[in-house]
Symmetry: C2
Subunit: 245 residues, 2 copies
DNA sequence: GGAGATTATTTTGCATTCATTTTTTGTCCT
DNA sequence: AGGACAAAAAATGAATGCAAAATAATCTCC
């Protein structure tokens, strides 16, 4: 076995599509986008080496632009560069995750605060729409749909903050925990799920009233609870499954 | 005039010292640290080109590690890379500054919240110490001393949050606005200064009581006010100087 | 047969080189 | 003289080359 990256059969460069509509002038930029996705999507196992040579062949480029992209990814915290030992996909410790969740909580909390200053009635209506949609998913026990809509709500709040810098940072941090974010949910934890729904009600309520500090608090607490659920899920994945009799 | 970087007489590489005690194994890492400082310190005027060739000579290296460092700095938001037209020191619009200040406010607000959970009595005592020191500077109208101590207080709060991820992000954003942060102060604005002192009293009070949400609010507002002062200062630098009669 | 040392291979880091693109300089024409 | 065009110079972006380090493979000796 010479390859450390499992061949998923999905090449980084899809022969047909170019990975979306976005276009990047420079090669290193293009590589950066693709490689970031590739890592965020979890195509390389945690802690595994990121072999330059192999990636160069996969991408059909030389090492120079690849290495530039790797440096940036390292700066973003997705991978880590060990001196003379190449790049590894960053392995997040439990503490790292806690920290990341808290920062996300802080950013969303901020987003909520700022959103109260600038959000339009139309935007609130749109979020209400998403909220009811999400409630539907909740009633139907549609985890996937729920999560999708839930994420759109949070993104809408961030968008309503009218702060590109914040949005960028938010997206950045979200990318780092994306892998666990999806796995670390309250899959079979009905109680937490119901709680989250109530929290979302409160979020919507505070948003309607443009109660900045209040919304800030609620959002922080909401994310904090998410964090707790996620960490618990990671440490004991078979939460609600009773032990063998 | 062939050089776009004004020769300040201070080389990036001081012949004697190596710029501090820190040591970096890789060259690109070393370059990154030095170049980041070099840009943050304001050695290159805003919007000016960052000539690779010249910097390579200054640093005595080839373009490869330099370009890697430039990509990272671009990712950090300190410079921007124009396709085929090289790197420029990022010029911050007023909107950019507003956004940055708000994000900083959010991060400090978060730091305060988290600090309430983890801060020790000793740490609070230390901050109190700094507070009184700062008050002394205030009474003596010692702007420089005030700012220095003020910054140490804010850093102490961030440190008390026990979140390295947050701290890194905070440092990062602080670097971006460092240039204006120092110039954009309430130089001759006694009123704002007094207000800031009162806010700091409130911060300390909330911290003593470990009132998380409250502290979060106060810190956000405090930074918000700073932002307003800074923007005002930039748009009309001769604030308190009465217009010609 | 296996643990440790030694050599070979691979990989990394940086310098150098090459092809384009941009910018500057020079010239010509109105 | 001034502007437009063209050629030269310089700078950028990416590929290649080379030395050092790390990893893998082989060999030696017990």
């Amino acid at each position: 076995m010479k390859s450390t990256i499992p061949d998923t059969g999905v090449p980084i460069t899809p022969p047909a599509a170019n990975g979306g509509d976005r276009q990047e002038a420079s090669l290193h930029g293009e590589i950066l986008l693709r490689l970031r996705d590739y890592v965020v999507e979890g195509n390389i196992p945690e802690g595994a080496r990121v072999p330059e040579r192999q990636l160069c062949e996969m991408l059909g480029i030389s090492r120079t632009p690849l290495r530039e992209a790797l440096k940036v990814l390292a700066a973003e915290g997705l991978i880590e560069l060990l001196p003379n030992r190449g790049a590894r996909v960053r392995q997040l410790s439990q503490r790292d995750l806690e920290e990341l969740f808290d920062v996300m909580a802080g950013l969303e909390s901020l987003a909520g605060r700022l959103a109260c200053e600038a959000i339009t009635d139309a935007e609130i209506t749109a979020i209400e729409q998403l909220h009811y949609e999400m409630y539907g998913h909740y009633l139907h026990r549609d985890m996937h749909g729920y999560f999708q809509t839930n994420q759109r709500i949070h993104e809408s709040i961030v968008a309503a903050a009218r702060n590109e810098t914040l949005k960028t940072a938010y997206t950045n941090f979200a990318g780092r925990i994306r892998r666990v974010r999806y796995s670390a949910n309250f899959a079979r934890k009905r109680q937490r799920w119901a709680e989250a729904m109530r929290e979302h009600e409160a979020i919507l309520d505070a948003l309607r009233r443009r109660a900045a500090s209040e919304l800030s608090d609620i959002l922080f607490q909401h994310l904090r609870n998410k964090r707790t659920a996620a960490i618990e899920h990671l440490t004991e994945p078979q939460e609600d499954t009773p032990a063998s009799p």
